[in-house]
């Protein structure tokens, strides 16, 4: 008979425990989980990258709805348990769900501690524990002033993330230096400086007196009278095990729920697991020990022998660009020795705490590659006397000549722990690689869990793959951008933001480009990323643009150029047509053609004539049609309700409105739109990057079509009731694409890569996000909507349009 297993809390610990349980005793239990959060299980560690925008929620889900279905697990979302009836062996949730159990696991995790200062209950005071908290933090939007109280790991990750989201962040820390439990004052200072360099204000020795505000947060006042105005306060001063429910049920509770080595509470039917549990007097706040507990509990539930012996922990600060590793114990003591290495210019700091010649604590700042090596020796209690002189320089220096990093991983013993979160040692990884024929990082993650949690050991796992497979390992799951770099487009985009890189030389320097100034592939891509990511701050680099975008005309096979003025939505008038005709005559332009994009192309213009041609077109009110741009090209329209007997809406008007709103925008690849007045679709909207089909009830917004090298009909994104709504969605969609697309990747390829659901989630389902993207586009347009022709008519880049010197007879254009 299957037994009933009920779990309270759906966090990281029970997720892992169940995986072990289903392996050890498949089918033995019918599992029911109650979760206070309204969602499936996700990787809580990765909330910081979600907060900073480096990852999305979808990317950090560890157990999706299908996992629960496949394993027959009943998950009650949004159902916090409020009562455990130990007599009757049942639990009851606030929304009235009752479940009987044979075995009960309490895995309620921790709750953030909120210091009871006056004002702490005001709206605008948030904590940092789950996805709802992240959403609350992001809701205040870029530009908001935020005070983070607490300069520990969590507070600093929050501060870094909020800063990357464009907020104005101040960190208040009670002690004189940051992370004083792990770092000595000098290293704390390095960390403080790194945050200040990112534009985060750090105030130490800051004792919060009260949170100010009447209806919501308006500021924070310190004991010394200083007032910091703000719209949001993030409390990150510490966590408390969530043991209230257990206590109310009469279970033995100290700080956490007291468990024995089998994770059993003082009620033989009830177990506790994770941060809410207290084992041998210790409550843990990191994930590695919880996974070990989960394994022990799974065996206990499967009636197999297992015992938990406590854990030694190590941790890493997950802020991109700041490398910090710490493990073990740092308390001072008579019997302890320290080895410290400082390299101020390189920003490196290393500290080892030794007792009886054995490492008991390690802090690495700036250079953390040796973290696993030190941690391994710490856990194994290796006697370091022999290594003493060179110990601090790390593994590479042992034995005289520095080893290369590959040789260093190769030299690690099989028991060396590679993934701290999941307790995976080197031998297990190399064993899986050879045993299971794994060839990729994802394969290793799936089979061993190594690098699947916080990801900070990814580099080591890749080196192991390389060391084990040799050249058969092809990490090019990530295709480098070009031979100048190892990074793929996505990494480069992420790092540009994360490291605040604002020029091409800065990118090349920081990301260790292998060539002195890139190549014709990477430079235009970098230029676009910087233009898109830092509107108003980055100065466009013309020399990194393809000739067409540099001189704002299309080069032809004979070295002449074509000129295509905008015709908004395909509409023109006698004045414009006359100006085009006049210009063609005046400059003896050999060809005038109607393009496939509903406008007119003047072909065969000599380069030196371009500014004069543009001056005449400008005078008639025309601007560049950007027919050369990785940017907004055309918005084709049909005549719609203005004239057509079938027209349902003003398709011409909407097309013109969209084109006037979006012209000038740079995008990863060219962007073509169309608006058709009815499903007969005369503007061919259903093969465009973005297309609108007007219907009686409003506007069907389509996207991801193609009619060039590939042919593909669009997908329906959503329906909009009004023109305003349609415009907002189209613009938000474009901005999302601008921020995520790889250079030269058309919308349909991008959509295929990231998936339509994630696009919908950002620009359709969530109004706040849609507005956020919309506003970013609008902001960027304030710098982009300048007619490049007019600029050049007025003298910009004059060198482009004239020879440097002339000798003898003038030559004809080649």
């Amino acid at each position: 008979m299957t037994e009933k297993l009920v779990i309270i809390g759906n966090g990281m610990a029970p997720g892992r425990m169940l995986e072990h349980l289903f392996e050890a005793a498949p089918g033995r239990y019918a599992v029911t989980i109650f979760n206070a959060e309204p969602r499936v299980n996700y990787n809580r560690l990765m909330l910081s990258p979600v907060l900073s925008g480096e990852k999305t929620y979808e990317e950090i889900i560890t157990h999706g709805d299908d996992w629960y279905a496949e394993n027959g697990v009943t998950l009650h979302k949004s159902s916090p348990v409020t009562l455990i009836d130990r007599e009757a062996r049942k639990v009851i949730s606030t929304n009235g769900i009752v479940a009987d159990y044979d075995k009960l696991v309490i895995a309620t995790g921790s709750s953030p501690f909120i210091p009871p200062v006056p004002g702490h209950q005001l709206p605008g005071v948030v904590t940092y524990r789950d996805l709802d908290d992240v959403d609350k933090m992001l809701a205040v939007g870029p530009g908001a002033r935020v005070v983070v109280i607490g300069g520990g790991l969590l507070g600093l990750e929050a501060a870094a993330g909020l800063k990357m989201r464009g907020m104005d962040v101040t960190v208040l820390h009670l002690m004189p230096t940051l992370m004083e439990r792990q770092l000595d004052p000098a290293a704390g200072y390095l960390l403080e400086k790194a945050f200040k360099d990112r534009g985060v204000t750090v105030i130490t020795k800051a004792n919060t007196k009260q949170v100010l505000g009447t209806d919501r947060v308006e500021g924070v006042e310190l004991n010394d009278g200083m007032i910091i105005p703000c719209e949001m306060v993030v409390m990150a001063v510490g966590i408390r095990p969530s043991s209230g429910l257990a206590k109310a049920s009469g279970l033995a509770v100290n700080r956490g729920i007291v468990v024995d080595d089998q994770m059993r509470t003082d009620d033989p039917h009830i177990f506790a697991l994770g941060e809410c549990a207290e084992h041998r007097g210790t409550c843990y706040g990191l994930v590695a020990p919880l996974y070990e507990m989960g394994q022990v509990l799974a065996h206990t539930l499967a009636e197999q022998e297992a015992s938990y012996q406590g854990s030694v922990t190590s941790t890493k600060l997950k802020v991109t660009g700041i490398d910090l590793f710490s493990a073990g114990d740092f308390g001072e003591g008579e019997d302890r020795e320290e080895i410290v290495l400082r390299d101020a210019t390189a920003g490196v700091y290393k500290r080892l705490v030794l007792k009886d010649d054995r490492i008991i604590g390690a802090v690495l700042y700036g250079e953390t590659a040796d973290g696993p090596w030190f941690f391994d020796m710490l856990k194994r209690g290796v006697d370091t006397r022999e290594l003493r002189d060179t110990l601090i320089f790390g593994q590479a220096y042992q034995g005289g000549t520095p080893l290369d990093p590959m040789a260093a991983v190769a030299a690690l013993p099989d028991e060396a722990e590679i993934c701290g979160c999941n307790g995976v040692c080197k031998g297990k990884i190399t064993g899986a690689i050879t045993g299971k024929g794994l060839t990729s990082l994802d394969g290793v993650r799936a089979h061993t869990k190594a690098s699947a949690s916080c990801g900070s050991c990814t580099h080591l796992v890749e080196q192991l793959l390389h060391a084990t497979l040799g050249d058969a390992y092809n990490p090019a799951a990530v295709q480098p951008m070009c031979p100048c770099t190892e990074y793929g487009h996505d990494d480069v985009r992420r790092l540009i933001i994360a490291k605040g890189l604002k020029s091409i030389p800065a990118v090349m320097q920081e990301l260790e480009w292998k060539t002195s100034c890139g190549c014709a592939k990477c430079r235009p891509a970098l230029n676009y990323y910087l233009v898109a990511d830092w509107p108003g701050e980055y100065e466009d680099d013309g020399q990194s643009r393809f000739i067409n975008e540099r001189v704002h005309a299309n080069i032809q096979k004979d070295g002449t150029y074509s000129v295509v003025p905008r015709m908004w939505g395909g509409m023109t008038n006698p004045k414009e047509l006359r100006a085009i005709a006049d210009v063609a005559d005046k400059f003896a332009i050999p060809a005038v053609k109607v393009t496939g994009g509903q406008r007119i192309d003047l072909l065969g213009v000599k380069k030196e004539d371009l500014p004069a041609v543009w001056a005449d077109l400008n005078a008639a009110g025309m601007v560049s049609g950007a027919a050369y741009a990785k940017g907004l090209r055309t918005v084709k329209t049909c005549v719609g309700s203005d004239w057509c007997r079938f027209g349902t809406q003003d398709s011409t008007g909407l097309g013109i409105r969209i084109e006037k709103f979006m012209w000038g925008a740079w995008t990863p690849a060219k962007l073509k739109l169309a608006v058709s007045g009815c499903p007969r679709n005369c503007a061919e909207a259903t093969c465009k990057d973005i297309g609108v089909i007007c219907v009686d009830s409003g506007y069907d917004i389509h996207f991801a079509g193609a009619a060039g090298l590939d042919i593909k009909g669009t997908e329906l994104l959503c329906h909009a009731d009004s023109e305003d709504e349609a415009l907002e969605i189209i613009v938000a969609l474009t901005q999302l694409y601008r921020e995520q697309g790889r250079y030269l990747e058309r919308i349909y390829k991008w959509a295929k890569r990231v998936g339509t659901p994630s696009i919908k989630a950002n620009v359709v389902d969530d109004l706040a996000k849609r507005r956020h993207y919309f506003e970013r586009f609008v902001y960027s347009q304030t710098f982009a909507q300048v007619d490049p022709w007019e600029e050049r008519v007025n003298g910009k880049d004059a060198h482009e349009f004239a020879a440097m010197a002339e000798f003898g007879m003038p030559v004809a254009a080649e």
Binding site: S516, Q543, S544, F546, K557, G559, H799, A803, F807, E814
Partner: protein, 110 residues
């Protein structure tokens, strides 16, 4: 004896850019690299006559704007898989002023 003719200042050419010198024998493209080296080559790609002066300049090479052949500015050799060569012209620089050997410029003028 070589007569050196001044064609302009290196400041007239943008870094990682190029300007043309028109001669009766055709256009010569004069390049300035990021580190201020100056090179002069024939402005005609051997592939299909693309104007090399319009290409993207990287290191001491240029990528043709029409079909992306890459040329070494110092030797005029096509790099990579492509085969071909453009003429190069000697250059002299005195106090940021660029001089080109006159016989090369004027040869076809006679």
């Amino acid at each position: 004896m070589t007569e050196w003719i001044e064609i302009g200042s290196i400041d007239a050419i943008p870094r990682r850019g190029s300007r043309c010198v028109n001669t009766p024998a055709g256009r010569i493209a004069v390049f300035r690299t990021q580190d201020d080296q100056i090179f002069a080559i024939e402005n005609r790609c051997p592939h299909r006559q693309g104007p090399l002066s319009e290409g993207i300049v990287h290191g001491a090479s240029v990528t043709c704007p029409l079909h992306n052949w890459v040329f070494d500015l110092a030797t005029g050799q096509a790099l990579g898989a492509d085969e071909g060569q453009v003429k190069t012209y000697p250059i002299d620089i005195v106090e940021r002023r660029i001089f080109m050997a006159g016989e090369r410029i004027l040869v076809a003028a006679e």
